[in-house]
């Protein structure tokens, strides 16, 4: 059993829910537990939000923004790519952007570290991805973009082994 999807969308905060609902629908036929679904949705939401506000610096979904640009206009028109692969019982998720990238990945992954305290970012994004998924890999080149790769073993997996 192998299944994959690829989705490109604008790096604006309206699409955060689109991304996590898409992944939830992608694994729905596995009958995941509510907890598994919540874990996956949270991890996807964190990764996509990172791409939008840190990668492309489109924080206008954030009500506090009082700049001169109207809230519905993204500054950066870059796309976020969401790729999912279901291989047997393992779900692979890749979220990538072509935004500004991360200079120090180790630092960025430290819990509570944030470059945007003024946006009330908690600095827990990577910590949650790490905790809620089984595996997390971050690849980034400053000025070129970031790719986050996550893996999670689904408990419904044994059912698939029997089918093949």
């Amino acid at each position: 059993m192998k299944n994959e999807i690829e989705l490109y969308f604008d790096g604006i905060s309206n699409n955060e829910s689109l991304a996590r609902v898409t992944v939830a629908a992608f694994v729905a036929h596995l009958n995941p537990t509510l907890e598994e679904l919540a874990d996956i949705k949270t991890a996807v939401s964190e990764a996509v939000t990172n791409s939008i506000i840190h990668g492309y610096e489109n924080y206008h979904g954030y009500g506090k923004y009082t700049g001169s640009i109207p809230a519905y206009l993204p500054v950066h028109t870059g796309k976020v790519r969401l790729y999912c692969l279901l291989e047997k019982d393992v779900l692979h998720i890749e979220v990538s952007d072509k935004g500004r990238g991360i200079e120090n990945i180790d630092k960025a992954m430290e819990p509570l570290y944030t470059t945007r305290p003024e946006l009330e970012r908690s600095g827990m994004g990577f910590a949650f991805m790490e905790a809620f998924m089984d595996d997390l890999e971050v690849e980034s080149t400053p000025g070129q973009g970031t790719t986050v790769r996550m893996k999670k073993k689904m408990t419904a997996g044994s059912w698939f082994d029997g089918e093949e």
């Binding site: 955060e16 954030y62 506090k64």
Partner: protein, 100 residues
């Protein structure tokens, strides 16, 4: 949809079904307006309707805590489910906020 009610010196924030960064800014901004206009001392976040939250929810609570705590107020989180409770504990915010 989120709802705000001021009862005595408490602000009750009934949080929406999904809390992500897209919605978080608006909720934080609204809560701040209510706090400033109504001499609010304590803030209660009600998670009864909330089925999804990511780290932006932590940001909302931490931001309100900063404002309220310097004037001696307390922040409460009620109807917290397992998943949200886990996130509150992992972020360390559970030591600042009274979780019921």
């Amino acid at each position: 949809m989120e709802e705000f009610h001021v009862i005595d010196n408490c602000l009750m924030v009934r949080l929406p079904e999904e809390i992500d960064h897209h919605r978080a800014g608006y909720i934080a901004e609204q809560a701040d307006c209510y706090i400033a206009q109504n001499a609010v001392e304590h803030v209660v976040f009600d998670f009864e309707d909330t089925k999804f939250m990511d780290s932006s929810g932590i940001g909302i609570i931490a931001g309100r805590y900063k404002q309220i705590s310097c004037l001696g107020g307390k922040v409460y989180a009620i109807h917290v489910n397992r998943q949200i409770g886990r996130m509150l504990h992992m972020s360390g915010i559970s030591s600042l906020v009274d979780i019921r």
